[in-house]
């Protein structure tokens, strides 16, 4: 089957910032993304888990976004503001997708 190059961007971000991040993604013109729940983790800000949590403040989300490779830099610039000051990590990987026109 015909496959096309794409980038798979995976962003772990505080849930409270999720909406702000996805708004930036939409503004930056991405055609789609998916949000997966995260149950716990560890990082510079220490160990956390959904079980020890009150309210909305502490949880994380995992936002996965598939885009055409040439849009990567613009996208990273666009979302930099929410990534910089807030808890979270980003990773980018090469991927293939089936229908290039969707991304």
């Amino acid at each position: 089957m015909q496959m096309h190059d794409a980038k798979r961007i995976e962003i772990m971000i505080e849930q409270i910032m999720e909406r702000r991040l996805t708004d930036l993604l939409i503004e930056a013109g991405v055609k789609g993304f998916s949000v997966l729940p995260v149950r716990g983790g560890s990082g510079r800000s220490g160990l956390w888990s959904r079980q020890g949590q009150v309210g909305r403040a502490e949880g994380l989300s995992c936002v996965v976004c598939l885009i055409q490779p040439d849009r990567l830099d613009a996208l990273l610039e666009a979302i930099f503001p929410v990534l910089d000051r807030h808890i979270g990590v980003v990773n980018i990987a090469d991927a293939k997708v089936l229908r290039a026109e969707l991304f």
Partner: protein, 326 residues
């Protein structure tokens, strides 16, 4: 004094406090006992709905009057004022940075609705009546403290994100405020008839649900404590015990000025003494991401919440009785 001790002892041996203690103990012993997030959220929605509705239904009997309006205004002022006091205290007592101090201060101006529920439940057990609209005062006190704290920061010239419109809407329309105010209004509109229709759901099992909820809160507080070891200094902990007393005193003053009943005054003290651990932390993560969550969560949830629940509330009730009831 005797009354305080009796009340405190009674309170400490009540099922709701023992459930909280069980949760703390289980968490410290690292048991895997835990409540699913959805269940904890479900219980808190239930509690908010029930106290809002009951408050509204009780006001329906009395009607809206000047005292109600005055109490709401007083709540807003208290919430906006207390962070300034807390901030000054923190800066003189502790070594917290401006940012951390402001973030903590915001928590102490705002309120903990669970502490309020526990307080009203203790009043009911003692047969002490209180103004039904105190629940609306609670809602009014949630947000102003945040604005105060951000103002403190911006005055210091620190780079706090300016309070944008999105954040403002999030704070004013946060779920617990909307549910509390909404069910309060519904209770007011449907009155006693409405209450009697759904009393087997919101009144009869209320205390039992509160027990389970506080068991979960105990687990959360206990786990927070275990994780936060060393995150806060002795002086900071001291603040977490002194500030509620100061808040309560100012709350009592306000209650005297407003002419509230003993029960109303006790709840005004409880509100002023309590510290937020839901709405404010969320707002802080957005507006002051550099402030350390371990500090403010440990203080409000690990120190002040258990203190109010166990010793604070009986103390406030006894004081209100002595000052106003006597």
């Amino acid at each position: 004094m005797d009354m305080i001790l009796t009340l405190a002892a009674q309170n400490l041996l009540s099922p709701i406090i023992l459930c909280f203690a069980l949760g703390v103990a289980a968490a410290l012993a690292r048991s895997d006992l835990n409540f699913p997030e959805a269940i904890a959220k479900g219980m808190s929605l239930y509690l908010l709905f029930a106290i809002g509705f009951k408050g509204g239904a009780s006001v329906a009997g009395h009607g809206v009057d000047g005292q109600l309006i005055a109490s709401l205004v007083a709540g807003v002022i208290l919430s906006a004022l207390l962070p300034l006091i807390a901030f000054a205290l923190l800066r003189s007592m502790t070594k917290l940075s401006t940012l951390d101090a402001a973030a903590v201060a915001a928590h102490y101006g705002s309120i903990s609705i669970v502490t309020f529920v526990a307080g009203s439940s203790i009043l009911e057990a003692q047969g002490i009546e209180f103004e039904g609209y105190m629940v609306a005062v609670a809602a009014a006190m949630e947000a102003p403290a945040i604005v105060s704290a951000l103002w403190l920061i911006s005055r210091q010239g620190e780079g706090a994100k300016s309070m944008d419109g999105a954040l403002m809407r999030e704070i004013m329309l946060n779920g617990s405020i909307v549910l509390l105010v909404g069910s309060f209004v519904i209770g007011m509109v449907t009155g006693k008839d409405g209450l009697s229709e759904i009393a087997p759901f919101i009144s009869a099992p209320f205390k039992g649900v509160l027990c389970l909820f506080l068991l979960d809160m105990g687990l959360v507080a206990g786990r927070g404590l275990a994780r936060a070891k060393g995150a806060v200094s002795g002086a900071t902990i001291a603040f977490g015990l002194i500030m509620p007393l100061i808040g309560a005193a100012i709350g009592l003053l306000a209650a005297l000025v407003l002419g509230l009943s003993v029960g109303g005054a006790a709840l005004m003290m409880v509100l002023s003494a309590s510290a937020s651990y839901i709405a404010v932390p969320a707002a802080m993560r957005v507006a002051l991401p550099e402030a350390n969550p371990a500090v403010y969560l440990t203080l409000s949830l690990g120190i002040t919440f258990p203190f109010n629940l166990t010793l604070g509330i009986p103390l406030y009730v006894a004081t209100a009785s002595a000052v106003i009831g006597g």
